[in-house]
């Protein structure tokens, strides 16, 4: 597979006042794909994104965007990228059209060309009706759409989205996802951060899981899930039986169709090659031990499972040292 590399990140590190934000981050983004940086708040996603956008200088390592080094040639990088920051980066007193007009001038579009381009973008994100209202009258979803229009204004080859659906309602999220897929359809390389597992799963062609400033896993959602090795059978025991959970686990270990068994708060997670062969074995073992099962469930691995497997914790857990943003 020799796909064109749009972004090449090599051993990137950033230290803020003695605190390490990211360390040894390396990955490649292929041209025309949607690439995700997935991780909890404070994991280092935004720091990585900001370095790629030339807003921060890395402490160590290198990164190139479309062949231009982000430290040596920031000007060239800025000419090729678009940025969709988090929702609040909007001037509430300016209208949608004025936002785009401002950016048109900052990207040095010829004055004669910009009105046409601005109309085109307003139409693309369905904001024509509200184009001349101040942004403070916009809903969260509309602000997001304006953000995307702003990001598209320079006609970028690469677009960076920072938490594109943070705090949006379900309908707006789905619409934003459609826009993001639309970007890919136009041949734009999309790099986005997210802390929503379903978003990464549905939207990203490939992603990295970042936690504690380091890369924990890299691949397509499918590869990552397959990498866990098989589907999962979850067994729930009644509370009275929880004392015997280890005995049951021991009885199941070593079975040819079972890859791994791990204890959970309510029972067991059993990683299996095929559920057909395993289910009878589980039931048989439980029967033999006279261990009453409350509930048994089978599912394909989700990105949640991938995240837990690689980081040792769920994405929503709060950490005392997790910084804001």
């Amino acid at each position: 597979m020799d796909r064109a590399v749009a972004i090449d990140v090599s051993k990137l590190g950033k230290v803020f006042d003695g605190a390490t934000a990211i360390e040894d981050i390396s990955f490649q983004v292929f041209a025309g794909e949607i690439f995700g940086l997935l991780g909890p708040n404070g994991a280092g996603k935004s720091t990585t994104l900001r370095i790629l956008m030339t807003l921060l200088r890395p402490t160590s390592g290198q990164a190139t965007v479309l062949g231009h080094d982000v430290v040596q040639e920031p000007e060239q990088v800025r000419r090729l990228i678009g940025y969709v920051p988090q929702e609040r980066a909007i001037d509430r007193f300016l209208t949608g059209r004025e936002h785009l007009q401002l950016l048109a001038d900052l990207y040095h579009l010829p004055k004669a060309e910009s009105p046409r381009r601005i109309d085109e973008l307003l139409r693309l994100v369905d904001l024509e009706d509200k184009a001349d209202q101040p942004a403070k009258t916009y809903s969260g979803g509309m602000k997001r759409k304006l953000d995307i229009a702003c990001g598209l204004l320079p006609n970028p080859k690469v677009i960076f989205l920072d938490e594109p659906t943070l705090g949006l309602d379900v309908q707006s999220r789905l619409r934003i996802w459609d826009y993001v897929r639309g970007l890919r359809a136009r041949g734009i390389t999309v790099v986005m951060t997210t802390n929503y597992l379903d978003e990464a799963d549905q939207l990203c062609d490939r992603l990295v899981i970042i936690d504690g400033g380091r890369i924990k896993a890299l691949g397509s959602p499918g590869e990552l899930k397959a990498g866990l090795g098989g589907d999962i059978v979850s067994v729930t025991l009644s509370t009275a039986e929880m004392g015997r959970v280890e005995t049951l686990a021991a009885a199941l270990k070593g079975h040819p169709a079972i890859r791994a068994v791990s204890t959970t708060q309510t029972g067991l997670d059993i990683r299996v090659e095929s559920p057909e062969k395993t289910l009878p074995a589980v039931l048989e073992a439980a029967n033999r031990l006279a261990c009453r099962l409350e509930f048994i469930e089978y599912h394909r691995p989700r990105l949640d499972d991938v995240f837990v497997a690689h980081t040792g914790h769920a994405i929503r857990e709060e950490f005392p040292n997790a910084e804001e943003e």
Binding site: L55, L56, Y83, P85, A89, L94, D105, L106, H108
Partner: protein, 259 residues
């Protein structure tokens, strides 16, 4: 060069638009609190202030120069506030991700703050005129007063922007602002001439660049060119040094904040 002009024009226009959207804020920007100092303080102390001490026909004509420079002080020190909000809500990052000259954002702010300040100074001088204060040096004198205001304002705005880029929160910013501005006014020749101050205050006031600016503006209003030329030449020297220092500091703060 064309690109530079396009950026700065668009960014300056944004500040103007923001101001014009806030009708109240626009009204209060022009009818600013500084007018109250001139009108109320000036008239209140008309009889309490000894004209032999202030060496002016009346207190309000003495105070006019002080109020002009106080206006410059307040505008300058508050000049970075909008950049602070831009920094906090991420708008600054959006601007910085575009291929603009790094200095354009700052320059647009200077242009905007200086224009507003000059308009306010004209309003102050206009109201003073209604109270019978006629600048002794005439139209040209008013132009020189505006230039002195610009020289002082550039340094102050630079300090304000440096603070905006350095502080952790806007709470800190406003605390420092509130803490700075009153001592700056009392420890200057705005309200009382240096000679009439307690010795220790007079000594401190001499180190306040504001004193130099006021002492140059005052003879332009009260006396005439003969007395004004010396202090005006002096204030140019002082302000060039002051501005150089402030601009150096703010450039450093900006570079640090922008990684």
């Amino acid at each position: 060069m064309n690109e530079y002009r396009q950026e700065i024009g668009a960014l300056t226009m944004r500040w103007v638009r923001r101001l014009s959207r806030e009708k109240f804020s626009m009204l209060f920007t022009l009818v600013q609190p500084m007018l109250f100092w001139l009108i109320f303080f000036g008239n209140l102390f008309q009889r309490a202030a000894d004209v032999r001490v202030v060496q002016a026909p009346n207190y309000i004509s003495f105070l006019a120069a002080g109020v002009v420079i106080m206006t410059v002080l307040n505008n300058g020190l508050a000049g970075g506030v909008d950049l602070l909000f831009d920094k906090e809500n991420g708008f600054l990052e959006r601007l910085m991700s575009t291929p603009i000259h790094r200095s354009s954002v700052i320059l647009s702010r200077f242009i905007f703050v200086m224009t507003i300040t000059s308009l306010q100074v004209l309003v102050i001088l206009g109201v003073a005129y209604l109270f019978g204060v006629r600048p002794a040096t005439g139209f040209l004198g008013v132009v020189v007063i505006l230039l002195i205001g610009l020289l002082f304002g550039v340094g102050l705005t630079a300090i304000s922007m440096a603070m905006a880029f350095s502080v952790k929160s806007h709470g800190d910013f406003f605390s420092v602002l509130g803490f700075l501005s009153l001592p700056m006014i009392f420890l200057s020749s705005a309200l009382v001439p240096l000679a009439a101050m307690p010795t220790w205050m007079g000594v401190l006031a001499r180190f306040n660049p504001m004193t130099w600016a006021i002492d140059a503006v005052r003879p332009l209003i009260l006396s005439g060119w003969a007395e004004a030329l010396g202090p005006v030449a002096m204030v140019v020297v002082v302000m060039v040094a002051f501005d150089a220092l402030c601009l150096y500091g703010s450039a450093r703060a900006f570079r640090r904040a922008m990684g």
